[in-house]
Symmetry: C2
Subunit: 512 residues, 2 copies
């Protein structure tokens, strides 16, 4: 293994073989801003899998970062209790016209005004090009260059904390993106005993998995220590396969616990899980995965299909008022019954799980963006429907999350967009996307994920926020959040104190 | 789907499509002994995946069995408590010269005389040909024809119960054998999202898995109801992948519980697990798999390598007296440390798991048979070594298991043998076996798994039992088992009351 320095001056340094397959070298003249690659086997230079910054993108050199250069002003910040949050899912590239971390800062007051007190930032790990939802990231320790890199994110987090906003980051530990993925050159990061829908599965329990487990289990500590983040949202945890007696989750959470005990403030992990299994939020001692909370997709599905009858074609197993009632009283709507979409019996009851272990929403990047035309709820249901959706979500016994723009009824789409450089891959994404949606028989042209237009169209249109129609919805959200905060009954997460009574298929009485 | 009756007279009957992909037909003239196949798609007749008997082998027709024809004499039998057992692993084909269930019966007194009170019969699900360990079985509900089929097994179980012997059966739910495996013609039994070392993984959690889960979870009830078995040993449970919120284990065990509550006698499940994870024997409420006990391979490895220094080449991570001490005090020797063989950190402490959740042994079909020449311990260590091994095993705080012949120091090998009919498969098994053992640099000819000789050589030589050398060991086992039964300290499974103190690398003091 050779260290290949490319900036400020070119140089190659042979590295020493250390234990466990690692290589090391100590440089006395390394400086922040130095750019480097590795030459693993004499052929080809590749960026550092643990790179902290990829200033020239996924194919370019890694940069040495000095994390001490940012002077943090948030020394008094002690995080917010998870159950007090109103989360706001934010995609940096499309939140502002500039699409950068710093450009978010001037907008924060507009969010706090309506009561939002936590950002959940869609993945910022370096991805190919400058247009991506973030799930094609390939450097889980590097912050997207086009968003403003490490210093940009730090400024944003610091500004959030100054305004009383907690910051959660969406991280992807289940796969790496298809472009700029040089991990296979360095070690046994992948396994072929299982697969994910998005690429090779990560080797969490096979031979030589210890290094991989270290690599990923240290990642939360990195965000906590160097970026002062308050929590993470872990993408699709059900696609992480691990039969180890000490699971990756337990390993990771033990590390976080040691760290937070020292730091004196909590750090929360929210899972995206497609298991409908209460064990995700149970403690490891009780055989659980130990997450603080998990996304409650069933709440979205049951509420959305009632609001938009056409939604039935996307969520065939939903559409009954009793299901929405169950989403309130139990959590998981599918708790063991046969589910057509899955072609099997699915799930387990979460009736005994307190509501503060679930994050609920009626929109998110997936539910909006994974439609051919990326339609938000605002173009699918009328104004009264939006108001109902907001109330149903914000007055539920869960931790609510809004998708950026939802608070004023943004009607720009949130399309699927990428900016790959490999022609074959671009074609594959375009075709794959069409195939995925083939059964919806889309009319007209199919939006091109690779087109810059798809990205531009997906940006929030800030001028709308001041227009009466949108203002009305904004105030509505503000009022609901205020009610949620001020009425003790509305921040009671104990399900036993809640009743949800369907009025036929047209109404529901929610008593809290 | 067409029912294709081939005996006593040929006839085809169209079946009705029922719910969930099943087909049904009711015949008023069906009789025991009727033989049939199914024609799933107009082309080819195949035996019934749920066949109760394959009188002509894996490729032939299935036979209708009337389970009421056997008059059970064991009406007063109430099983034995698992922790009181001395298990005896028995391969029907090589236990007697005849290799049948019925031929085992006259030998039972010889086993009870030395204190054995439970058989663990290696798999009898119909396999190809008449020579097989049983792990290539393809009809989990059919009893091997060459062993004597359903009636033979019933007679054996009845005879065992009359003699106070409990009967456990080894069952394989993780894969189906390569020959005579027509399951793919009938339904989604397999999945390609995971794999096993022996063939396609069974579909326990994918689309249409419910039928597969029913098929396998009803299997224990079948053995319990129709064969009066007392428990099962489940093969390699770590190769069963299931991410369902209600696991296959829980589903299966709930069914067993309902059944045994009615039946008024317990039924035990013993797992073979390569996870070194105490959750295998924890209750489902605590996030466990709920098995009554599991095999403790680490006990074998640590004891064997101390008895036979050459064993180090097979079990590279063992060989220290402290490991044997840990096998006594804790159970799992590998409880989180790095294990060279696995190339990763492995396992979790089982120190808090009471000893009656583990089955220990110093020989079994795998540890003996998965050597090129199938050498038993009796040809690897001297007479005194065998006595030590027996004492170390039988006086441990675990449920002991002997491998047939071990009680008198049988020195015939237990080789790997098959009797496939497909030439390609025979070649593949022969080559695969050679490849598997390539790193042991075997000298001389490599035993041919397909050769009848490999099977014949593996049979117990009953005349030895009466010879002085063997008699001495037999009496030794008898005495040890008697001590185990009579001294309360020796059937105390509480680890807290046990001490194991190494005397350097040459000795160990076990205090119970």
């Amino acid at each position: 293994m050779v260290l290949h320095i490319v900036h400020p001056e070119k140089r190659e340094v042979k590295m020493e073989r250390a234990e466990w397959g690692y290589f090391t070298v100590e440089l006395t003249d390394a400086v922040p801003g130095m750019r480097y690659l590795y030459i693993p086997d004499g052929e080809g230079s590749f960026p550092d899998p643990a790179s902290h910054h990829q200033p020239e993108g996924v194919h370019g050199p890694s940069e040495v970062i000095d994390h001490c250069t940012h002077t943090w002003r948030d020394t008094k910040w002690r995080n917010l209790p998870l159950q007090d949050l109103v989360l706001y899912e934010l995609h940096v590239g499309t939140f502002t016209p500039e699409g950068t971390f710093e450009s978010v800062i001037p907008k924060l007051s507009e969010l706090t005004e309506i009561g939002i007190n936590a950002l959940e930032i869609m993945p910022v790990a370096q991805f190919p090009g400058n247009r991506n939802w973030g799930y094609d990231g390939v450097f889980p320790y590097a912050v997207q260059n086009s968003y403003g890199g490490p210093s940009g994110l730090k400024k944003l987090v610091d500004a959030c904390h100054a305004k009383g906003i907690a910051v959660y980051l969406d991280v992807v530990y289940n796969h790496l993106g298809p472009e700029g993925n040089y991990f296979g050159k360095f070690g046994p990061y992948f396994t072929d005993t299982c697969s994910t829908p998005w690429g090779d599965a990560i080797n969490f329990d096979g031979p030589h998995a210890d290094g991989v487990r270290e690599y990923y289990s240290n990642n939360p500590l990195y965000w906590l220590e160097h970026y002062h983040l308050d929590g993470l949202r872990l993408d699709a945890i059900h696609t992480i396969h691990d039969s180890s007696a000490v699971s990756f989750w337990e390993l990771m959470q033990n590390k976080i616990q040691s760290f937070t005990e020292q730091a004196g403030k909590p750090f929360y992990l929210i899972a995206e899980s497609d298991l409908n299994d209460p064990k995700v939020v149970k403690r490891p001692e009780a055989g659980g995965f130990g997450f603080s909370a998990q996304w409650l997709d069933d709440f979205h599905h049951s509420l959305y299909v009632l609001l938009d009858k056409k939604g039935k074609s996307r969520y065939e197993d939903f559409g009954k008022m009793e299901q929405l009632a169950k989403a309130y009283t139990d959590g998981f709507v599918h708790s063991g019954e046969y589910v057509s979409f899955r072609k099997k019996k699915f799930g387990r009851s979460s009736a005994s799980v307190p509501g503060n272990h679930f994050v609920n929403f009626v929109q998110n990047h997936d539910q909006v963006g994974n439609r051919v035309r990326g339609e938000r709820l605002s173009v699918l249901v009328g104004h009264e429907g939006l108001k109902l959706a907001a109330a149903a979500t914000l007055l539920a016994p869960y931790i609510p999350m809004l998708f950026m723009g939802e608070e004023y009824g943004e009607d720009a789409p949130f399309l699927y967009f990428v900016s790959h450089s490999d022609e074959k891959l671009i074609k594959a994404v375009q075709e794959g996307r069409k195939k995925e949606f083939a059964h919806y028989k889309t009319e007209g042209t199919f939006p091109d994920p690779q087109a810059e237009e798809s990205f531009e169209k997906s940006k929030l249109q800030w001028q709308k926020r001041k227009q009466p129609k949108y203002q009305q919805l904004l105030k509505w959200h503000q009022k609901l959040i205020q009610l949620r905060r001020s009425l003790p009954a509305l921040h009671n997460f104990n399900k036993v104190d809640l009743q949800a009574q369907p009025l036929g298929q047209e109404g529901l009485v929610l008593i809290r």
